[in-house]
Symmetry: C2
Subunit: 756 residues, 2 copies
């Protein structure tokens, strides 16, 4: 055997074994799509996740809805509900506001109903009872027995298509209901959901196509579908409002449904594959043909599982089964969006509502940036660098057609939900970490425009004139002042990298604006009016929502800690490290709640509310105060008590990956308090081992000894074998590859991580 031949064979064996190892890793087994699908009780928040079938970053999320015209949870599925209204093809994961729910299919038998009925009286419509004991889900697959009809319904998905397998009882009165009136709650006036027009057309006895045009949380969505059936449609009933047309070929209208009838005497399942497009029926058909060319349902399930396995494989962990379930379901939730809305041919609808063509065949949307810039986007930056470049190219498209980067982008359109301009930290973080695939100069132009061109929530003329947001000119003024100061700091960092000194100086100046709202008399950031007068009365416990109050979905206690760009200066404002740590102690222990708590605030530890994003970085701030063991304590407390592997596994809305990303980082032992700094604060690792596979081919591994719910305190740390006393690691440390070892114990090691 020559050396060359040996090398070849060895190389083969290595890749074979590697592939095998990867395959045998079977990380998808830990995905539990039911995590986050229900609240513990009516007083709690659901994660707002959905249990149905989807692929990483795909357009389609084919999932059961337990609610017609859903509102809360925003996913349309509540684990505590007893009936299912049907399976719609698009869903949001973890948001606080509902939308999508497009193209609902529901198999039934017996009498034909084309309206869903009520949850109180499921027998008055097509809705069916179901039981969790006859329901199952895994990545890319969902199954439920519809008890009222004795139908076993199974779902899987590709990026642009849903695949249904309905096993009916033997008979001749099987139906599939298509309901294009199923949408978010049309009565909630502030989203003003309205179906503008819709169509269902029977093309032939095995093909249905159509669309709906709808305005809702997303201002305008056009959703086209093309559906193929494995059995012939024997007859139909098409319905528009109260009008019923029998065996019509088409129905158009704003409230349209159809019942398709099938013969199921042969007992073989009915298969339905449904392509979707935001642009045209022709594209929906092209999308379907590109992704599901046969009738092999199980094959598509396997493909979906393989796609998930490939994404999960980026971080391999050791830990308890529950930890693995939370961790990998967390990755699954983080990778459920942003969603590539572009058709396979690259067509997409821009933020200008016009048809455009994406050269890269991708146009990502669902940018819940106020949530995700904190940890979900840094997670993508770390292990999804190519996708991150795609996200940025997609966000840049909004800048080009809409004048500024996304704030909250849904279905390619700005919905102005929440505050700040947090595409900026996302892009700056990626640029500073050297991610390729977007033009850094154009990105800077977009960032600067988003920081200077006034738009809803961002009146930059006010910002420039007052150096804070006066509450009488801009509601949510304290939160915006704090978060905008951080965004400005991010702009400055990229300006610096690009050598734009004047810009750097100007934006660094702006990044200090938060100081103008620090009220020494109360020790809190507090609203001022345009005359510079503190707004009274002031109670640091009082909550704001999304307008009409200086604090966004939080109170003065929660927003006191939001200076991630300059924690040392925040410590100075609060009177030094000791005072700062004392105030943190109070924060985590004061249990008083005002009469009205914003609904998004949940998962309390004192005033800390892990259920909503403003709190997410706060446990880590003890590090800078010289008391890292308290960071360790509270981080471990959150990891161990506010996450679990049940349907109520999150302490609030999962928020498009942010709640999961917090766990993913924190469970490995570090978290990006300042998400654009390349610095990760060290907390309290709970996983025995975590190996991050970097795109460079290098691996960064964290090993943790003795971690447990009791052993939450760091005893010693080594980085690449050398003792490590810093309370943070850097992106460079990770990029270099290597090993970070923790040894944990039940008592704080107050010498570790503190300047000696």
């Amino acid at each position: 055997m020559t050396k060359k031949a040996f090398t070849l064979i060895a190389s083969f064996l290595i890749s074979y074994l590697g592939a095998n190892a990867q395959s045998s890793a079977n990380l998808v087994q830990y995905i539990n799509p039911f995590i986050g699908t229900g609240a513990v009780d009516a007083s709690s928040l659901s994660g707002s996740n959905f249990p149905g079938a989807t692929t990483p970053f795909g357009l389609v999320q084919l999932s059961p809805d337990t609610q017609d015209n859903p509102d809360n949870p925003a996913s349309g599925y509540d684990y505590n509900d007893k009936t299912i209204v049907g399976f719609s093809h698009t869903h949001l994961s973890g948001t606080g506001v509902a939308d999508l729910f497009d193209i609902l299919f529901m198999p039934t038998t017996g009498k034909i109903y084309t309206t869903p009925g009520t949850s109180e009286n499921p027998e008055t419509g097509y809705r069916s009872r179901f039981s969790h004991s006859q329901e199952s889900a895994k990545a890319g697959y969902y199954q439920v027995k519809l008890l009222d009809y004795n139908i076993n319904a199974e779902l899987t998905a590709t990026e642009h298509a849903g695949f249904h397998r309905y096993t009916f009882p033997q008979g001749s009165d099987a139906h599939v209901i298509i309901d294009l009136n199923h949408s978010l709650n049309k009565k909630r006036s502030y989203w003003s959901c309205r179906i503008i027009d819709a169509q269902i057309r029977q093309v032939n006895d095995r093909t249905i196509e159509g669309f709906r045009i709808i305005t809702g949380w997303a201002q305008l969505r056009k959703v086209y579908f093309y559906a193929e059936f494995s059995k012939p449609i024997t007859s139909n009933e098409m319905v528009s409002g109260n009008h019923i047309y029998n065996n019509n070929t088409i129905v158009n209208g704003t409230n349209i449904r159809a019942a398709l009838n099938f013969d199921t005497k042969d007992a073989t399942p009915l298969l339905i594959k449904v392509g979707l497009s935001e642009n045209s029926i022709a594209n929906a058909k092209e999308n379907l043909n590109a992704e599901i060319s046969n009738w092999n349902f199980d094959g598509i399930v396997k493909e979906a599982q393989a796609k998930w396995e490939k994404e999960l494989d980026k971080i391999k962990i050791e830990g308890t089964t529950e930890q693995k379930q939370i961790f990998y379901t967390g990755l699954y939730h983080a990778f459920t969006q942003p969603n590539n809305l572009a058709d396979v041919n690259g067509d997409y609808m821009g933020a200008d509502y016009a048809l455009h063509k994406a050269k890269d065949k991708t146009d990502y949307s669902t940018f819940s940036l106020w949530d995700t810039y904190r940890a979900a986007n840094p997670l993508y930056t770390l292990i999804q660098p190519k996708r991150t470049a795609g996200f940025i190219r997609s966000m840049m498209r909004q800048y080009e057609t809409y004048g500024y980067l996304p704030i909250w982008q849904l279905w390619g359109e700005e919905n102005y939900c929440m505050i700040g301009n947090h595409a900026i930290p996302v892009i700056v973080d990626a640029a500073l970490k050297g991610i390729k695939g977007f033009d850094i100069n154009e990105a800077y132009e977009a960032i600067k425009a988003s920081s200077t061109v006034s738009h809803p929530g961002s009146p930059f003329d006010v910002w420039t004139k007052y150096h804070y947001m006066p509450e009488d000119l801009q509601s949510q003024s304290v939160s915006i002042t704090l978060e905008m100061s951080f965004d400005d700091w991010c702009v400055a960092q990229l300006a610096k990298k690009l050598g734009k000194t004047a810009d750097y100086n100007e934006f660094m100046q702006r990044s200090n604006n938060y100081k103008n709202l620090f009220d020494k008399s109360t020790g809190f950031f507090r609203a001022k009016d345009a005359n510079g007068k503190w707004v009274s009365p002031f109670n640091p416990l009082d909550y704001g929502g999304n307008g009409g109050n200086p604090y966004t979905e939080g109170n003065a206690w929660q927003y006191l800690w939001y200076v991630p760009q300059n924690v040392p200066e925040l410590i100075n404002l609060l009177g030094g490290k000791a005072a700062f740590a004392n105030k943190l102690d109070s924060f985590f222990t004061i249990k008083d709640l005002p009469k009205e708590v914003n609904g998004n605030a949940s998962g309390f530890i004192g005033q800390y509310a892990h259920g909503n994003e403003p709190s997410h970085h706060i446990t880590y701030l003890y590090n800078d105060a010289g008391q890292p063991w308290k960071t360790q304590y509270y981080v471990a407390d959150v990891l161990n008590t506010l996450y679990n592997n049940s349907s109520s596994g999150y302490s609030g809305n999962e928020d498009c990956g942010q709640m999961s990303a917090w766990y993913i980082f924190s469970s490995m032992g570090f978290y990006p308090v300042n998400p654009a700094s390349g610095i990760y604060e060290i907390g309290s690792p709970i996983l025995k081992k975590a190996s991050i596979q970097l795109a460079s081919g290098k691996t960064f591994t964290v090993n943790t000894k003795n971690a447990s719910e009791v052993n939450v305190y760091i005893q010693t740390v080594t980085l690449n074998g050398k003792p490590y006393n810093k309370t943070f690691i850097t992106q460079k440390d990770i990029d270099n590859g290597g090993t970070l070892n923790f040894v944990m114990g039940a008592q704080p090691n107050k010498r570790w991580g503190v300047a000696q």
Copy 2:
């Protein structure tokens, strides 16, 4: 000189002289755009025409709006109003329902207002007073002095672009307001107008672009614009709701406006050219560049006039100046729509809301078919055969994407206004007259689908089951039964031509369904319920509107006459010619009105209401009853008393050319009572001469001697020199070319036109 050279010169001279003759005809001088722009008083209906600048069948109608959020008149301009709110780029001509009004521009001086103010207090907004004494309009041109600002505003247009010339007083506080919130009345709940999103962007100091996405009478319209200014914008104020942004580059929102500021010290006018597109800003720019390449405002006016001259030239008439003004303004109104919505590159939005490409670069819309199939479409068939083919190709596109032909198509979308499926007579008429340019077999497929696939207002399963429309299953049942019977007759005629005998027989059978609603006991068509019981109480004077009553915008008297496909059978139903004529006599003389008359019924002669379409053919029915002199009397009465050349020149809404087409045909002496039969009933010509230039090159000329308001009765008729005693002519007579001579007198010649 060789013979060849002589021929060339002669040929040159002929075309030179021909061109000169055409030019010297100067028919556009007779267009008075103010006709139809106002009602006589508050109790009358306006023609709902607009006085602004447009080109034949163009996308853009740049015209002043006197009303903000217009409702009635639907054109946005009421001649009786005292203030103008601005100049918007799209308008409907003559409709009963308002929509469009896109991209309003208004020049002002002094204090900046970005809301229009009220008509009661014009000084509280950008609105300005104006006076008709300082206002003028001609084809393709409009001018008004804005008295509050001392600004002379002039407008002209190309197919896809508006061109503004604003002469400001010398100064430095000149403004142009752009208001994208200007729309139809948003409070009229049944159209539910809502602006979904809009954008104004300052691209540079001479360019503004943007769009608005709006749902209204048309379910969804996307209107993009690209505007170039001849002077630099010195500063701007961009406004979203109550938020004002100074010198911003962009504003997005649902209620956005902008003030652009200019220096006008040099006293030269500010020129603005604005391209429009229904698809994208890029296309709006391309449209503008294709049509207005320079800053020659007067040149564009001349081009617009030449375009109109070319269209008017198809019929040359002699008569009084008032007759010429009514006639040519009628042609102008008839040729104002349908509008080609396609971009110059052929892009258009289909009825499926997706982007499509038209090979012929045209996609016509604004099909007010319930009105126009009666005479406006036959007029197009006669003198606009190429356009007619384009209209049909465009209507076929709705069939392809929407399943059936248009009922009332606005902005490429079906709005289901009015009843029937009157694209059918339009297409059948064109097919039977041999118009080329569309596929007759595909057209038949579309016609048959539109007559068999149930849709709103057309439940064909009910039609097939009951052989009439029961009022309890389909409101407006009498009108629909009558009009659907006619449409069915039309389907049968095309089936016959294509040799589809079974279809012919079936549809001929269906065309008799009207008989099932003839109530012998009352002598009227009357509603039945699904049990076959006459609906009571019944009063033939009682009016219906657009639902909730068996009669559409009319009463039993007016609908009694609607069997154009078989007048002899209608005569039989009514008891023979004498009884029929007596009933007609009653119809034209009974003056009783019920308490509530539908608002569209106006222009009364007894129960006859020329202000709305159901009456339009009725004066001609005496011909079939053997009393043609009564046809002559009433036709002349309508021509002479219900049309004039003033702002209140029509007796009701002009209805997209139908009211004008009635005059155009009738003033020449004939009218298509059955618009798909190729037969024109002879009435009472009032024009001294009318020459119709046919596409074949032939000419059909009508000469009339002694016509006057007194001499309304036909004395003798010759066709091509031979005495002519029939009360109708045929399309073949016209196609052959030739001359029809009338001699009129003050007394009926009761021997003419009557079987001897």
